[in-house]
């Protein structure tokens, strides 16, 4: 599994810049567990293999939950970062997801 965690925007400013490179966006700001993971899961269902989803959250639990979602569903967690109480994740569906 080709997992690559990008910690900072600055470090990813090269060829594989992570900013906004996603096929779908999901705004989960203001939602609490389990809704960010539930909505992300439904959004992932609609992706084709190889496509990526970008999720924006404000539930601090999402920092633990999204890596777990990726592991359980066999997704690649391309990036996970937090800034000013906002968490941003990018997940890529590689296989059936």
């Amino acid at each position: 599994m080709s997992e690559r965690i990008t910690q900072t925007r600055g470090a990813a400013a090269g060829a594989q810049a992570e900013t906004s490179v996603a096929d779908a966006e999901l705004d989960c700001r203001g939602l609490l567990c389990p809704l960010p993971v539930y909505q992300a899961s439904r959004a992932i269902d609609r992706l084709l293999p190889g496509q990526a989803l970008r999720v924006v959250c404000t539930d601090p639990g999402s920092l633990a939950d999204f890596p777990a979602l990726a592991r359980q569903r066999g997704l690649a967690l391309l990036s996970a970062e937090e800034r000013d109480g906002v968490q941003v994740f990018r997940l890529r569906k590689d296989g059936d997801g």
């Binding site: 939602l31 567990c33 809704l35 269902d45 359980q72």
Partner: protein, 170 residues
């Protein structure tokens, strides 16, 4: 809502089968229903199979009318939403106050209600086992329950739970 049943199975287990969560929901209170339903919605999101055995007062969670009227008990609940001495919990109306506060918190947090979580469970293929013994003891009829439940005894639930990766009593 779109069909979560379309979720691909997770080949996370060595045998290739999806992971399975088996839960017993035994409490007919709002604060008893939420943990079970939230865990079910989460497991569905992960692509797991889920089954919940609703037994004794937990049967109210899948009761057509009662699931909308679940309450937060004020008595014997030191952590109830109203910060008052436990003894005050016996006063008439305190359960209604505690329930109202919990529902207000949930709404303010944009949390779903019990009926919406039941919808997610059914769309996600969660098996809702209605305990037939409870139904017999308490005089609950099949038509009193929400759509899509399986009336079953403990044997059928244990048969499902025997292959579970996670088993919880709520």
């Amino acid at each position: 809502m779109s069909a979560l049943a379309a979720l691909g199975a997770v080949p996370a287990r060595a045998d290739g089968r999806a992971r399975r969560l088996a839960m017993v929901a035994s409490k007919g209170t709002l604060d008893g229903a939420y943990p079970a339903l939230i865990l079910a919605a989460t497991a569905v999101s992960l692509g797991w199979e889920v089954g919940i055995f609703f037994t004794f007062y937990g049967l109210d969670i899948i009761h057509r009318k009662k699931h909308r009227k679940l309450k937060v008990p004020s008595l014997g609940n030191p952590a109830m939403p109203v910060p008052l001495p436990s003894l005050v919990g016996v006063l008439p109306g305190m359960t209604a106050v505690a329930t109202w506060m919990m529902k207000r918190w949930m709404k303010r947090s944009r949390m779903l209600d019990v009926g919406q979580f039941l919808d997610i469970a059914r769309e996600g293929g969660v098996r809702l086992f209605a305990c037939s013994t409870t139904m017999g003891v308490m005089g609950v009829r099949a038509e009193d329950l929400v759509e899509g439940v399986d009336i079953a005894g403990a044997t059928a639930f244990l048969d499902f739970a025997a292959d579970a990766d996670v088993s919880l009593f709520v």
